[in-house]
Every structure is written in C-alpha cells, then in structure tokens.
Symmetry: C2
Subunit: 239 residues, 2 copies
C-alpha cells in the first residue's frame, strides 16, 4: 500500500501534481527523526534525501578550524540533500535534526530517476533549491548587518513557521551555535523578549506568546525567503 498525497504533510509533496507524486510514492519510506541525527554527513555521499513531515533540520557550514554556523533551515516545507537535485553527490555541509520529528525518505538514485522523467517535478525541486539559496543569502545578510536581538527574533520566527504549536524545544547553547554568538548572549537577548512578554521560557523550551511583535523586532531581517517560497512553490510556507 503506497502513500496517498492527501495524507502527507510535507509541502513540497503537497505542491506537486498527482502524477509527480505517484512517481515518488513507491519509493518513499517513513522514518522517525531524532535530535542530532545526521541526515547528510559532510563530504560523504548522500544516500537518502528526506522530505520532512515534522521537526526541523539545519544545514551547517563547517570551517577547517571547526567553526560552525547554520546556513539552512529546513522543516516540512522542504527537503534535505539538495545537492542531489543539482546532480552533485556530496557536499562540505552537514545536515542534522534540530527538533525531533518524522519524514519520508527516498534513495537519491530513485529521486534522480524520477526527476529525469518529469520536467515538472524537476522544476518544482529546482525552485526549492532557489529558495534555499535565498535563505542562505539572507543568513549571510543577517550575520553581517544585524544585531543579536534581531537575528534571534528571525531564528525563532523561522523555527515557529515550521513547528506545530508555539513551543520551541531549544536550549540557549543550541541557539548560540546556530546564530554564531556566545551562549550568554542568547540568554540576554531572550531575557529582553521575555521582559516584554513576547516569549516565556523554561529549561529547554521557548514558548512564543506574541508572534506579531516578534516580527516587528526581527524587522527587515525576516521575511524575504518566506515570500519567495510562496511565490516559487505555490503554497505558503506556513499553513
């Protein structure tokens, strides 16, 4: 019994035609995804590509002296392993699970074969690559031109977009890695948000209370990749 399109929650799968979905469905395999699980290892061949159904994955760049920084943010609106879409077998970046969830995986070969047979499928997935590029560029802009407060706000918004409720299971330590700042810098910035009741925090979790005001704080730092997603994929990133 193969999957039906109406039962999947991944927005790329939802966005494709019945035909294209039918090409992939026989090869899709449900998997659960646990925190810190590595989906794409740096410099190792990509065997599976994952369409996320729930949870959150990060693409991180790793410098030779082991500095790390998030350069991509993927939830149920997207898929991991984008080099496969560009006929590239591996990448120096690593992709791993930040927030546990589930997904549908497919062998890279099977996906490539399906794309070869369907220009519309290929088009959709290449559009997804474009969204990822714009997202990465936005990260570069954020890191270069915006303060911690704004970057934190952006990150929380991106995370919230991809989660079901308003609870984000994140530690300060973890956020500091993603944002490329020191841990107590995250603590301080979160206290500011908590002080004006935009979030409420407890150990290992951040509860979002007022998304509208968080967007105000993020300001120009947030929104552009999300708008491009809607334009290019044809569905809003967040329900």
């Amino acid at each position: 019994m193969t999957l039906s399109k109406s039962s999947v929650r991944n927005r790329l799968l939802q966005a494709m035609s019945e035909d294209d979905f039918a090409r992939l469905a026989p090869h899709l395999e449900p998997v659960t995804l646990s925190v810190k699980q590595v989906l794409v290892e740096a410099n190792e061949p990509i065997e599976y590509v994952h369409f996320l159904e729930a949870g959150l994955a990060s693409v991180v760049a790793i410098s030779p002296d082991n500095e790390r920084l998030e350069v991509g943010h993927i939830g149920r609106e997207g898929m991991t392993g984008e080099p496969i879409l560009l006929t590239v077998d591996y990448t120096p970046h690593q992709t791993f699970i930040q927030v546990a969830g589930s997904g549908l995986r497919i062998r890279a070969d099977d996906l490539s074969a399906a794309m070869e047979g369907s220009p519309s499928l290929k088009g959709l997935l290449l559009h997804w690559v474009q969204v990822l590029m714009i997202q990465t560029a936005q990260s570069a802009l954020a890191n270069g031109r915006f303060a911690i407060q704004e970057r934190l706000a952006r990150w929380l918004l991106m995370c919230h977009d991809r989660m079901d409720g308003d609870d984000l299971p994140l530690t300060h330590e973890f956020l500091s890695l993603m944002l490329g700042v020191r841990r107590s810098g995250v603590t301080e910035a979160l206290h500011v948000l908590e002080g004006v009741k935009i979030v409420r925090t407890s150990r290992g979790r951040i509860h979002l209370l007022d998304r509208a005001r968080l967007e105000e704080i993020a300001g120009a730092c947030y929104g552009l990749p999300e708008a491009e997603y809607a334009r290019l994929i044809g569905l809003p990133l967040k329900n």
Copy 2:
C-alpha cells in the same frame, strides 16, 4: 562567424564539451561590461545571462530597509543569472559589475533551450549553482564568525583569483559595502596588511605583493568554495 571554444576565456565555457559549446556559440554575443553596470536587477525578469571573460561581478542581497551585502562573487570562472538555471525568472538579489571587463551574453530563453537538449550541459551548469551556494554559505560563515581582518583577506583573495594581474581596482568605500563594515574599518585593516608588506595601496588600487601570506591571514575563512569549484567543474578556479 561564430566563436571558437579555444578563444574564450570563461572557464565554464572551457569546461564544457565541444558539442555543448556548439549549442551555445551561435547565441553568444560579446559585450563590454563597465563598472556599476547592472546585469541582473532585483525583482525584474532576467533577460540575459552573462559568461564573464574578464572583470568581476557581485551578487548582493538587499534587505527591505536597504542594507546591502555581497552574497556572491563571479568572475570568468562563472556566469550571472543563476536563477535561470533553476527555471526561476527573477530574484530579489541584484548582480552588478564591480570591476570592469567583458563577457559573452546569451538570452535566457536560448540558454534554457540549450540546456533542455543536453543533460551534460545542464549538469555542468547545475554544478555551478552548487558552487555558488557553497560560496554564499561561506559568506554567511565569514560574516558570522570571522573578524574584519580575515574577511578582508578572503575578499582580496577571491578578487585576485578572478583578475589577471596583481592589481585590484577597489576603493575602501566599495570594500566596506561588500564586507558589511564601516569604511574606516577597511582602511585600518588595509593598513595592517600594508604594514607587513602584503599589499601596497594607492588611491583606488590595491596591489597584492605576497599572496601566500595573505592566505595565511585569511586562514579558514578562504578556500572551501574554491576547492569545490575544482571538484565540480573539473578545472581549477584560477589558472
């Protein structure tokens, strides 16, 4: 009389098969490129794609409040207008000429058509997209984790890779825009390099004296995208 492959200096054109080159050649049109010329305007349809032969172009992200920052760096190793390769018609980023030069332009439609007819051509150009993505990610990493001195070194190296001599025609003002720092910060960082005789500067020019030591200063900030270029395109980025 169409172009011959041996006469072009663009490395993507050099890297493709005679067959693929022959598909493009009839549509390629030589153009000179002057400083500040816009090759891809933000949010406007991309009409032409440019294979650079000399000079340098930058892709910049523009935030709603008009902050700007370089997120891509393209010389004769590449081409502009990468959204076309992803079947995307326009992009929120702008691409313009930083260092005057020349190139071969082709109508976006003609390039798309040529790609449709040749998997190998499509593969090569998609590999180029991957290189650009890694470069953008590296910019994000650089902006987030490295100091001005290292970022400046990285930028000078990237520029030098794409120029013919050791003279880089760049103003401090311009570098400050690219790096996302204030102008006098660039002046100070350049003085450091000048003090140890890695560069010599004069109004509007930076003359590179000792590339090896500049690479040492850039450290982990430089090199990864360049290595991926060689791997994926099959030619070294710099001769």
